[in-house]
Each structure stands twice: as C-alpha cells, then as structure tokens.
C-alpha cells in the first residue's frame, strides 16, 4: 500500500468524524425558537387505536439528543437537583435504574422529558415549573445517555462523582437491548 493511499484513507475516516464532532458541540443559543412545551411523549410501546404508528419524534429532540453540551449540562443538573439521590449514578435505588435498557415510560428523549416534567404516579416528582424547559431537555439528554443509547462521542469521559461507576465512555451496553431500540421491518 502506498503512502498516498493510506493518507486518503485517513481523510475518509477523519471527515465524518469531524462532521459529527461539530454536531455534538453545537450550542443552539441563536437557533430559531421552537415550541415552549415539553410534549406528551407517548411510548412507541403504547397502542394507538386507529393508526399504525406512534406520533413522530418531537422536533426539539434533535437539538438535545446526542448533543455533548446538553448532556454535560444535564449531568450537572442531575447532581444538583438530587436525581442522584433516587436513581444513583444510573443504577437506581429509591427510583428505578436509568443505565439499563428498560424504560417504563419510553426511551425516546421526548418521552423522558415528559417524565421529568410531569412526574409519574409511582413516586417520580413533577419538575415542571421548578426547571426551565431547556433544563428539562438537558436532563433528558443526560438520562438517555446513561443507557448507552446516544453515541459514545457525545458523552462525557469523566464522571461528575468521586466514587461512582466507570465513565460513560467505558460502560458496556447491555445485551440484548430493549425492543424500543430495534428498528421495525
């Protein structure tokens, strides 16, 4: 193999990496505002009578999901707002685990945002009015990242805690994954 061809191979590999790196760092502070509500967030596992498919993903999902800035902001809020007290560093305790692939109320980021905003009847508190919509979406991005669903290049390589689990970049994904993550044929 000539040195020229290996250089071009490197370029081919490096180009998409560079592109995704730009995406993941994007701060959408000047973006066009989108609706100021957290969606109702139906689960894809929910039955929708009279239709064959779940509602489309909320338009704001792509601004937060897989976004390193949102995930790291969410990671700090997770500690500050005492999420850690119930869910630990993802392993659970008073609340269910978040790092596994079981989602009682759906694994989509808009569904997670809804859970945080509205609470759930078995003890999840409702944070609407206590956190801004942006903070709720940041938290949802971080919570989703705990399960290993976003790509590893978006998550933080250092843990917020002193004595917790291995950093997210090193945490193996559970197998098999929840059916939420399986594309339908």
């Amino acid at each position: 193999m000539s040195s020229r061809s290996s250089a071009s191979l490197l370029l081919i590999v490096a180009f998409p990496l560079a592109v995704s790196a730009c995406d993941r760092e994007e701060h959408h502070s000047r973006a066009k505002p989108v609706g100021e509500t957290v969606p109702s967030g139906e689960s894809p596992q929910t039955i929708f009578p009279g239709s064959s498919s779940p509602p489309p993903l909320d338009v704001r999902a792509k601004l937060y999901d897989n976004n390193a800035n949102a995930i790291s902001q969410g990671q700090q809020l997770y500690m500050q707002m005492n999420c850690v007290g119930c869910h630990s560093h993802g392993g659970g305790g008073m609340g269910p685990p978040l790092m596994d692939d079981e989602w009682r109320y759906g694994s989509r980021i808009d569904q997670i945002a809804t859970t945080i905003a509205e609470g759930r009847p078995n003890g999840m508190p409702a944070w609407r009015g206590k956190l801004t919509e942006d903070q709720i979406w940041d938290l949802a991005a971080y919570v989703r990242s705990m399960s290993g669903l976003p790509s590893k290049d978006a998550v933080s390589s250092r843990a917020e805690e002193m004595s917790g689990p291995t950093p997210q970049t090193l945490t193996p994904k559970p197998e098999p994954t929840n059916s939420d993550a399986v594309p339908s044929q």
Binding site: G85, S88, S163, G164
Partner: protein, 619 residues
C-alpha cells in the same frame, strides 16, 4: 330528666356487668411472668427479661417483639433439638407482593394477621380450618407516590394487636385501627406528609392505651418525631420531635440525662447550624419498648441529615441516641447520644431489650442494645448510664466508649471530608447490625444477634435540600468486611461481654431472630434458607429453602389444635435487597446508597415474592 336518668342507670349497669365479666375472667392465680418461670433454672443467677414487661407465653404472638421487653422469645417447648429435624410444612399463603417483606405475622386466638409491604394489605387467616383460608383482606390504599420517597424499599415492619383491634401504619404516613374480627376500619389518622418526603415504615407499639408511631425520612431531610394516638379514637395525645427547642422535644423539669454531654437548654437547636435542625432527621423508624412498672417507653432516634457531616457541625441533638419518655405525656426522662455528630448513617433505632441483670447481690434494671455503631450497650434503665459497651464484631470507625463521660471515642482517620473519599470504614452505613432485631432467651441468658460484616468507602459532597427529594450528599460503596463473609449470627453473653458462638453467613443477615424455650434459634438468609440452630452451641439442626430471600421475623405460636407452629414470610428486598426488589443495575456500585456494590450476586441468588410458610413437627 327521666330519660337521662335511665340512660345513666343503663350505663351504670353495663359498667358493673363488664367489671363482673373481667372479674370472672381473671384467674385467681395469675400466670407467672417469664422472669419468674426461668429464674429458678440451675446454673446460678441469670439475666432475665423485665418481669412487668414479659408475661408468660400464652401461645399467641401479638406484637413483633413478642412482649414489651422485646425478647422475641417463645415459651413453647414442643419443638426441641431432638425433633426439629422433623419440622415439615403445615400450610402456605402467597402475600401477592414482590417487595421486601420485613413484618412478622401475628397470631391471636386462632387467627393469623399479616401486613404486607406497600400497598400494605392486611390479611386475616383462619387457623381453625384446614389450609388456613383467608377470612378477610383489608386494603388501606396508601398513596402510590409514597413509593418515591421511601429510602430503602417500600417495607413495613409489622402490625400489633390489642383489645380487639389490629393497628398498623401505611407507607404514606397513616395509622389504621381495624376490627380484628370483622376486618372493618375503626379509625385512621394521618400523621405523615409525603410532600416533605415523610413516610412511616415502623411497627407501632400499643401501651397504656396509646398507639405509638414514629416517622421515617432520614435520607430526605425529614424532622423526626414520635407520636401517641389514643387507642380508642385515634386522636393525637402527644407528639415529641427529636430536634429543635426543648418544648418541641417535650424536654422539661423531669429530664435528667446522665452525662454532661446531653445536658443543657435547647440543645436540639444549639447543636446545629442555624435552622439545620428543621431538616435534620432523628427519625423513629425502628423499635419501641415499654416498662409498665415505671410507665416509661424507650426508643432510639435515627441519623442526622444530610449524611455529609460537614454541612451540620455540632453534636446534632437529639439524633442517633436513645430517649426514655413517659408513656402518658411523652415527656423525656433521659437521653443518651451514642454517636454525637454521626458521621456514617449510624441510626440508633435498633431494638431495646428490657432485662434485669444480676448485679452485686441483687439485680439491676438494664437495657440491652446491640447497636448499629457496632457496640453492645448495657445501660441502666432508670438513668441511661452506660454500664458496658463492647464491640460485637469488627469495628474500626470508633476506638471505644468512655464510660466516665459516656462519649464514644472516634477514630479520626475515618472522618469523612467533602471532596475526598475515605476508604475501609467499618461498620458501613447499615451498621454492624441494622433494624432486624435480636432475640433474648432467659433459658440461656444469651442475646441472639443477626448482623452484618460490611465496610465502606465514603465520599462526602454538598447536598442540596429540595423538599420531597433525597438529602444525602455522599457517594458510598459497600463491601464485605474482614473474612469476606457479609453476615454473622452471634450469640452474645451480656454479662461477660463476649460472643459464645457465631455463625459466618455469606450474605448480610437482614432477618430478625426468634428463640424458643425448646432451645432453638430460628433465622433466615437473603438467599432463602430458613435455619434452625441449637441455642446452646449454634449447631445447625434443620433448614428449609424458601422461594425468595428471607428478611422477615419468624414467630412461634400454639395453634387451635394445641400444637407448636413456626411461621416465617419470605420476600427479598429492603435496603440490602433493593438490588433485586428494585430491579437495579449492578454496574453502578453506588446504587441503593452504596449497598448495591456489596450485593451484586444477589440477583443470581434470589428472586422476589412474598410467601408465608408455617411449619410443625409431624405427629
């Protein structure tokens, strides 16, 4: 006028009739107390349960502790070391729950009562019929959201029977009185507020016409209290907080703590940073004992909040200690703080056994307390004076207890500090022994202690107080202590301050113990083994594998057929078993406040499921 007079006359004759009835029922020779029965056994003077607090066994089991002295001792002798190998199943009953089951069943005159973890169903089983079918089920319907503010699984530690009623608490902070025959509610009183993170998990105690209840929430910044409800009406008689000004704590002229460290005005305010006592814990989620002779109750207080000690400089009165209070008024008589300025979540809420110990030429009324901080305390019941305090397992977080000042001697190498992780702290947060009570036998004079052997790494960090959410401020990882076994069952001699025998157990012991006059000790393990061992030497005599791990207390009762039965309920969970009952992810060592790290193998060793098992020896 006339009508009124008739009414009075009728009431009068009713009163006379009921007095006459009582008189008829009264045995001219009342049965002797447990203390009298066993005082004359050969082998010299022995430690005996407080006489007034331990009537001789009538074959029922009406409160978790068996009696006010909290002996968990059954006077029945049919099952003994010779025939225990023939114990076999008499009947079973599925509780319909899959959370940690900590409550013992109760047996009252041919009916068994079972209170479950959330949703706190109360079942009555008819022991007079084959297979013990259910008579009725009472569903209190506690608020579902209460599950989100219960620190360590949604457990309930039991019900209590008195005067025709069953009393129990629900997770969302209500106390219920239910007619023991009909299963109809008599009254309900709500004392707890889940919006503040307050729950109730303890078993009430009924004494002197009062139902005594305390709150949980030491991990949620909940201010601890104990309250007395009128047994007949459920109305609040008194309520004493365990932090704050003296008037809230019911401290007055009758309060005489033995040691200088516990003396002073409004220490419940002064020993805290400004206003920190309002969210400072000191909850009453464990056990209460009662001495009818002096009309005093004894109860411990839980950990101060948050766990991060740097946020609460001071002694943090009146957390992690023991109160003696007047049962009628709640007024404090004395207090002893086992661990001033608690550093490790060492709640002092464990059972308090009331005993009379040989002392010089006579006897001394004492409390026997196998405590979470690892010391077995023997204290004078009248004053709180510590007579001895000896570690009953491996302890490196404290160096001892100074009997002159009453002060525990800390090991400053293990002091947590914000921003650093302190390693190898023993005992870990659940203590050398947690809530699950020991049993005391007047036959052997020994205290049978099921307990842990766990150490921990502790990383303190700033905790934010947001009401209704956890207030902890610590990352914890627990693991097995020296030897590698996570549990120990120790038979302790309170007079000679030493273990007589011990059994090493792989998993932490989370089930209370039962000891019988037949000479057998019963306890369960978290992988579902229900064991019978010889009370004299710890030799295993029998075991049975239940469907789920056992963290509930076994009991012994005399059935309607006159035979002796042993009953226990399985159902893994609780703080130690939350990794299974909460379906937690074992990859996070800090899960369940750090207990998950020590229990990673439990999901392979037990699944959930509440089930009652009742055993008898085949005839």
């Amino acid at each position: 006028m006339r009508r009124v007079r008739i009414a009075i006359a009728a009431t009068g004759s009713l009163a006379v009739a009921s007095i006459a009835l009582t008189a008829c029922n009264r045995n001219p020779n009342p049965p002797p107390s447990t203390a009298q029965v066993y005082s004359k056994l050969p082998g010299g003077p022995r430690t005996l349960p407080a006489a007034a607090a331990s009537p001789a066994d009538d074959g029922n089991w009406v409160m978790p502790g068996k009696d006010y002295a909290a002996t968990r001792f059954s006077g029945l002798t049919e099952i003994n070391p010779a025939n225990v190998k023939d114990l076999s199943l008499a009947f079973t009953f599925s509780t319909g729950t899959n959370k940690g089951f900590e409550a013992p069943p109760l047996v009252v005159n041919g009916t068994m009562y079972i209170v479950t973890p959330f949703p706190n169903y109360l079942y009555a089983l008819d022991l007079t019929k084959p297979g013990a079918p259910a008579k009725w089920t009472f569903k209190p319907k506690p608020a579902a959201a209460s599950q989100g503010v219960a620190c360590c699984d949604v457990v309930n530690r039991g019900a209590v029977y008195d005067d025709g009623k069953i009393f129990f608490n629900t997770l969302d902070g209500q106390t219920f009185a239910v007619d023991a025959n009909s299963g109809q509610m008599v009254w309900r009183t709500k004392l707890g507020d889940i919006q503040k993170g307050e729950t109730v998990t303890m078993a009430p105690l009924v004494a002197a016409g009062k139902v005594l209840v305390g709150n949980s929430g030491g991990e949620m910044g909940v201010r601890g209290w104990i309250a007395a409800l009128d047994e007949g009406s459920g109305k609040l008689a008194w309520k004493a907080y365990n932090t704050g000004p003296d008037k809230d704590v019911l401290i007055g002229p009758d309060f005489h703590p033995f040691y200088a460290m516990d003396q002073g005005q409004d220490l419940g305010v002064k020993s805290w940073p400004p206003d920190a006592w309002k969210i400072g814990g000191g909850n009453v989620w464990g056990w209460i004992s009662y001495d009818p002779e002096t009309r005093m109750i004894f109860h411990g207080t839980g950990n101060p909040g948050p766990w991060n000690p740097d946020q609460r400089p001071g002694a943090n009165k009146w957390t992690t200690g023991v109160f003696a209070r007047d049962v009628d008024t709640g007024k404090a008589r004395w207090f002893y703080q086992s661990t001033p300025h608690d550093l490790f979540d060492h709640d002092d809420i464990n059972e308090i056994i009331l005993a009379d110990m040989p002392w010089g030429k006579g006897r001394r009324p004492v409390l026997l307390r196998p405590a979470r901080d690892g010391f077995f305390y023997v204290q004078d019941r009248r004053t709180g004076q510590v007579l001895s305090a000896t570690p009953f397992g491996y302890v490196n977080a404290y160096k001892g207890v100074d009997l002159k000042t009453g002060q525990i001697i800390p090991n400053h190498d293990k002091d947590p500090k914000v921003g650093r992780v302190v390693r190898d702290i023993c005992p870990a947060a659940p203590g050398l022994k947690d809530w699950n009570p020991a049993a005391f036998s007047p036959v052997t004079g020994l205290v049978y202690i099921p307990h842990n052997n766990l150490c921990m790494d502790f990383g303190a960090m700033q905790a934010n107080y947001i009401s209704g959410t956890p207030y902890v401020g610590a990352d914890v990882k627990m693991y097995a202590g020296p030897g590698g076994n996570r549990g120990v069952f120790t038979a302790w001699d309170p007079i000679r301050h030493r273990a007589v025998w011990e059994i090493k157990e792989d998993l932490p012991l989370w089930s209370p113990a039962l000891v019988t006059a037949g000479g057998i000790v019963f306890y369960g393990t978290m992988d579902g083994w229900f064991k019978a061992v010889d009370a004299r030497n710890g030799k295993q005599l029998w075991q049975f594998k239940a469907g789920s791990g056992i963290i509930a207390q076994p009991i012994s009762y005399k059935g309607p057929d006159g035979r002796q039965y042993i009953a226990v309920i399985c159902g893994v969970g609780g703080w130690s078993g939350a990794i299974v009952s909460g379906q937690m992810d074992p990859r996070d060592p800090t899960g369940a406040l750090g207990f998950a790290n020590a229990m990673k193998d439990l999901p392979m060793k037990s699944t959930t499921g509440g089930m009652l098992y009742v055993f008898a020896v085949k005839r």
